[in-house]
């Protein structure tokens, strides 16, 4: 079964489209998109074990560090560029968002919602939050750029990205009531303005 944010992402991807999945992990999304949406594309991944898993799944994977950009890819090569649960761990957040929209017509990002009420409670009790979405202690977390949905929307506006779709998820389900406070994961689809 696909992780909830990946399942949401899959609903926004047209059949037969060309996909680039940044930080593709074990290739689950690309495999799903290939098998059920007839999509083609590539994943980029840095971890050896994940690269191996992608090869096992017959997912095209390029072992590379996203921080050094997407120089391997020409402008507009992809219909959609996905960055799932990775933005918050990147040094160069603005750079990667610009790169996404350079090589793709559309971008999709998902990230843990730091604005979730549990995080606020944790902070009020004097501790950095440790939750299923951000399960790390403050001293060993890869997450260096946590944000809330509103924060992301501000950055998107500044980078001239038009947000076309938004899903704020809790337990894998989209929320309508107080989503900014209740969502554990935020998923956005955007295009160039």
């Amino acid at each position: 079964m696909l992780r909830a944010d990946l399942a949401q992402i899959a609903t926004w991807i047209e059949s037969n489209s060309r996909i680039l999945d940044l930080g593709c992990g074990d290739g689950a999304l690309l495999k799903h998109l290939r098998d059920s949406h007839n999509c083609a594309g590539y994943g980029i991944e840095i971890a050896d074990a994940s690269v191996l898993e992608c090869v096992r799944r017959r997912v095209n994977v390029i072992q590379a560090d996203l921080e050094s950009g997407l120089r391997m890819f020409a402008d507009g090569m992809f219909d959609t560029v996905v960055l799932s649960q990775t933005l918050q761990a990147m040094h160069h957040v603005e750079a990667i968002l610009r790169e996404m929209i350079r090589v793709g017509r559309r971008g999709i990002v998902s990230f843990p919602n730091f604005g979730n009420w549990r995080h606020a409670v944790s902070l009020l009790s004097g501790h950095m939050p440790v939750t299923p979405e951000i399960p790390y202690q403050w001293y060993d977390t890869p997450n260096i750029h946590l944000c809330t949905p509103k924060d992301f929307e501000l950055l998107a506006a500044r980078l001239e990205l038009r947000i076309t779709d938004r899903a704020l998820l809790a337990r894998g389900e989209p929320l309508d009531f107080l989503p900014n406070l209740r969502a554990s994961v935020a998923v956005y689809r955007f295009e160039r303005l």
């Binding site: 083609a40 096992r56 997912v59 090569m77």
Partner: protein, 380 residues
């Protein structure tokens, strides 16, 4: 990889294929007839669809795996990669190793007798290119009744052949596995080759390449050529790790004998090499490396050069390989992506420099094994 139950293919025998039809080289030169030495391991299936061609690099041969009868120390050059239960599993694949013409292990080369003169070709053997080899390999495949190869795989110069196959015979290759390779040599690569060739050609025993007639071998030149080449196969860190500044002598001897361990090692490698390798072959093969540049006939555009390719690709680079560094592998990947080809690329963080492609590294072998599992699954 020494996966569970991995063994050797055991005793193997080399065979020779004779071709009467002339072979025309890229240079325009021709061989009226020629022999190709080769070995095979495993069994060709009924559909003839499970053949994997393994291409050798500079100093190796058709002897990829197994050993010869009564010569237990004669293991093939990629015995850790090819065999039952190994990443290229001979229980599933019919693996072919071919000695490229111009080499010195049984296929027609400079040491062979030219039927026109009844003397060894020597310096008159045509300068051969990667494309020429690939053409010959295709003829061998024809003769073996194989139209389409499940994969062509090779490291370094062997990787160039795997790429060239995909360009020249797009319909005849399902997968191209190119390891520790480059789309073309850099000026620095060519410079190292030229130093090696200069060492050979300036040896008084070289006799313009016709040393066979004089009953000598340009051993000193060959030894220096191998020493310089060998340095480029290792990483600086690896040499530090293995040798550091260790001395074989109790203290400095204030002379020029091999006092440092690294000197002793290189001289030993050079001596060993000069015993079994042919100097003319060294010249030919380094030249083939220099000339390889499939983008050349497309104004340097590698994307266009790779446009005919239909194969799926696996490319692997090693982080400490400074001879064909990961950037060079990425150039190929990038051009394949621009063509919309299926490609995976791994960068293995191994300490052994260019030579890593021959060594037994878990991540590397697991990756190749996983890729060949996929190829086997496609055959099923």
């Amino acid at each position: 990889m020494s996966g569970s139950g991995a063994t050797s293919v055991g005793i193997v025998t080399a065979q020779t294929m004779h071709f009467d039809a002339p072979l025309t080289f890229s240079s325009g030169a021709q061989l009226p007839e020629y022999d190709v030495r080769y070995e095979t391991y495993g069994t060709l299936n009924a559909q003839h669809s499970n053949a994997v061609l393994v291409c050798h690099a500079l100093n190796a041969s058709h002897h990829v795996a197994g050993h010869y009868a009564d010569q237990p120390r004669s293991a093939g050059w990629w015995d850790n990669m090819v065999g039952p239960g190994k990443p290229i599993d001979t229980r599933r694949f019919f693996v072919i190793g071919i000695n490229n013409p111009g080499s010195c292990f049984g296929s027609t080369g400079p040491m062979s007798v030219n039927p026109a003169t009844a003397k060894p070709y020597g310096a008159s053997f045509p300068v051969v290119t990667v494309e020429d080899w690939v053409n010959v390999q295709a003829r061998v495949a024809d003769r073996l009744g194989i139209h389409r190869l499940a994969a062509v795989v090779g490291g370094s110069l062997g990787g160039m052949q795997a790429l060239s196959w995909a360009i020249r015979y797009p319909e005849r290759i399902a997968h191209s596995v190119a390891i520790a390779t480059t789309p073309k040599l850099s000026a620095q690569n060519i410079a190292f080759n030229d130093v090696a060739r200069s060492a050979i050609r300036s040896d008084p025993d070289f006799h313009g390449g016709d040393y066979y007639a004089h009953g000598v071998i340009p051993r000193r030149g060959l030894r220096v050529a191998r020493m310089i080449g060998h340095i480029t196969y290792l990483s600086g860190d690896d040499m530090t790790e293995r040798f550091g500044r260790s001395l074989r002598t109790p203290d400095y001897a204030f002379g020029y004998d091999a006092e440092f361990e690294v000197e002793s090692y290189l001289r030993y490698q050079g001596d060993k090499f000069s015993e079994y390798f042919d100097a003319n072959t060294y010249l030919l093969i380094t030249r083939a490396l220099d000339y390889f540049d499939p983008a050349r006939e497309h104004d340097g555009d590698l994307v266009r050069a790779l446009a005919p390719a239909l194969a799926r690709f696996l490319l692997i680079s090693f982080t400490t390989d400074w001879r064909f560094a990961p950037e060079r592998g990425r150039e190929i990947v990038s051009a394949l992506i621009a063509n919309g080809r299926e490609v995976s690329y791994a960068e293995i963080d191994a300490p052994h420099g260019h030579d890593a492609f021959l060594l037994d590294d878990r991540r590397y072998h697991h990756l190749v094994a996983a890729y060949f599992d996929r190829i086997a699954a496609e055959l099923a």
